[in-house]
Symmetry: C2
DNA sequence: TTGTATGCGTTATCAT
DNA sequence: ATGATAACGCATACAA
């Protein structure tokens, strides 16, 4: 150990000091601070000026201890290193969540899980009463934190995809419907041999996109034209497009399970001398920063990431007020951003 | 008001319960929990099993109230909406900070400032004793939060660029040196007419990059070949390159103050029929996701964003232990990622 | 080595 | 409408 910082030593004004300065009791001061009824106008005034005079700020630790509420809500981001830096939706979800919580006077606290150790510490943090509720994005199946949250019964909402647990609230998009819609539009441009580069088949989102693709194709569906990779990455797109080209040189349409994948696929197509969209039409998923950077700009499914965040926050707030039970999914509409790649 | 959630009502086991279950006193239990000396092995054992038995978890609010420490450190992200989503460094800083704090068993708590209201609430949050220290990225000059932090004397470190306040710790890169280095390398490729698209001249980082550019050019510096725009964006690159081409059709080298700017400039150059790097060499700054997406890949300055985050965390930790005074800057080395655009 | 007692700053329940 | 007082769960100085 060493010298504690000067900050830690400092004592700031308490209700006690305010009471002394105003000549009223601590009870009355507390009532004024919490805006309760049954306080005279004059009492309120003198308390207010006493507060200003002594520079009082409420001590949250004490208040939390007493009320068992922290007025803070945690947002747990559980992404592997690389994806975290690349995923365009995380930032938007964050901002959306923050806007709703901010309006309700809750403090958003984001917690990053980047290691086993983090996982444990975050679980501890949650149990410590630092937060009244929690939003979890991109939970894995079999996630220890997810299970801890359920076990504790803390108000929560998952965003991204439904977890493998019952009795939990979640918000997401309808991946089946969205995939089917954009594939259908791709078909309407006259494509005959359409393939898919799928990804993350260990998650509902990944599986559902394949299901939608298949539904759109109907009888024309050919399993040989679907390849899949674990990660929604540019590299997966490169690999996948090569395989697809190998299997079906006459391919004229591609549905990529993410924009990053589409970007990789497009570079391979270009290198193979195919022109887009003349020879091959391609569509993606996410409407991320990749989409506009592609040449030509990519047609893609827009995820309402901000709304996802807002909705998740709202659902936690509702549970907090006992207005809602912690169960069931909410699905938000996606829209297709139709550009020049198909 | 409405029905409070069931969670809020729940009471979990306390030290009291553990004491009862183990037949020891609350004091001894507390000592075991905090790993203090002077506890017998048998006492420790029975406390441990009692903890497991009753499912005890420490109440952080109570502990904070008593110790005046929260073992949490805040990371304040103060970026305008759009930049927040685009800036590639923020995620890396976040991860770097988290790794150091995690190892020291501190919980990182990220706070987003996205509105005036947020600003106030975050200040309140800091005063509430939720965090023992704070890291602030991309603070503005005249930032109310920055001033609040200084006024409270809470251990802090700024990352990104030095604030306009004295007696504060900050970490950053040497923008002058980095800009000079990459411009020099650009000149060594034989360029004669080299321009710059500058940005954010209201911040040190922006001004320093111009200074470095100028230093590298020496007598060859021509003010007419420097254009500037408020935002480090793709659009600034498009605009800037058009102006530069207008003023100096014979331009053969460009230093863009960010990768996004470089990307915009490259698209304009291509549209104007200039080949890169044959006709014009171009370099950027940041080594962001843009750099690899450019055609050809962009030569650029790599910011050690992860290290910046780690260093900032370390400096806060040092202040917390009284090991360091809260003042002075730390500058980290940049490296140049030399690719094909120049 | 262990137990006892006190206080951290609030809110909330009583009287008044 | 206001004032006294008892918790909240913990750490710690002191006594044993």
């Amino acid at each position: 150990m060493s010298v504690p910082s000067e900050f830690a030593r400092r004592r700031s004004a308490t209700i006690h000091d305010v009471a002394a300065a105003s000549g009223l009791s601590r009870g009355t001061v507390s009532r004024v601070i919490n805006g309760e009824r049954y306080v005279s106008a004059e009492a309120r005034d003198s308390v207010m000026s006493a507060i200003a005079e002594v520079g009082y700020v409420p001590n949250t630790a004490a208040r939390n201890l007493k009320t068992k509420r922290s007025h803070a809500i945690g947002l747990i981001v559980h992404e592997p290193h690389s994806l975290f830096l690349e995923d365009p939706n995380i930032g938007a979800i964050l901002l959306g969540t923050n806007s709703v919580l901010s309006a309700a006077d809750y403090q958003l606290v984001s917690l990053i899980v980047d290691s086993e150790r983090d996982s444990d510490r975050v679980a501890e943090y949650l149990r410590g009463g630092f937060v009244d509720g929690v939003i979890i994005i991109s939970a894995r199946e079999n996630d220890p934190i997810g299970r801890a949250v359920v076990a504790m019964g803390i108000p929560a909402a998952f965003v991204g995809h439904p977890p493998d647990i019952d009795g939990i609230a979640y918000v997401g998009i309808d991946n089946v419907q969205a995939a089917e819609a954009i594939t259908t539009r791709l078909l309407h441009t006259g494509r005959r041999r359409v393939g898919m580069i799928a990804s993350a088949l260990d998650r509902d989102s990944g599986r559902d996109r394949v299901a939608g693709f298949r539904a759109a194709l109907g009888d024309a569906f050919d399993p040989a034209l679907v390849v899949d990779y674990p990660l929604y990455s540019y590299d997966s797109g490169v690999e996948g497009m090569r395989r697809l080209l190998d299997r079906a040189p006459d391919i004229d349409g591609v549905f990529a399970a993410s924009d990053a994948i589409a970007a990789g696929a497009m570079d391979v197509l270009r290198a193979a001398g195919r022109s887009i969209p003349k020879d091959v039409g391609i569509v993606g998923f996410d409407d991320s920063a990749w989409a506009l950077r592609c040449q030509p700009p990519l047609s893609t499914v827009r995820q309402p990431a901000g709304d996802l965040g807002r909705m998740a926050a709202q659902r936690v707030l509702d549970q907090l007020d006992g207005r809602e039970s912690a169960t069931g999914g909410t699905f938000l509409e996606t829209v297709i951003a139709w550009r020049e790649s198909a």
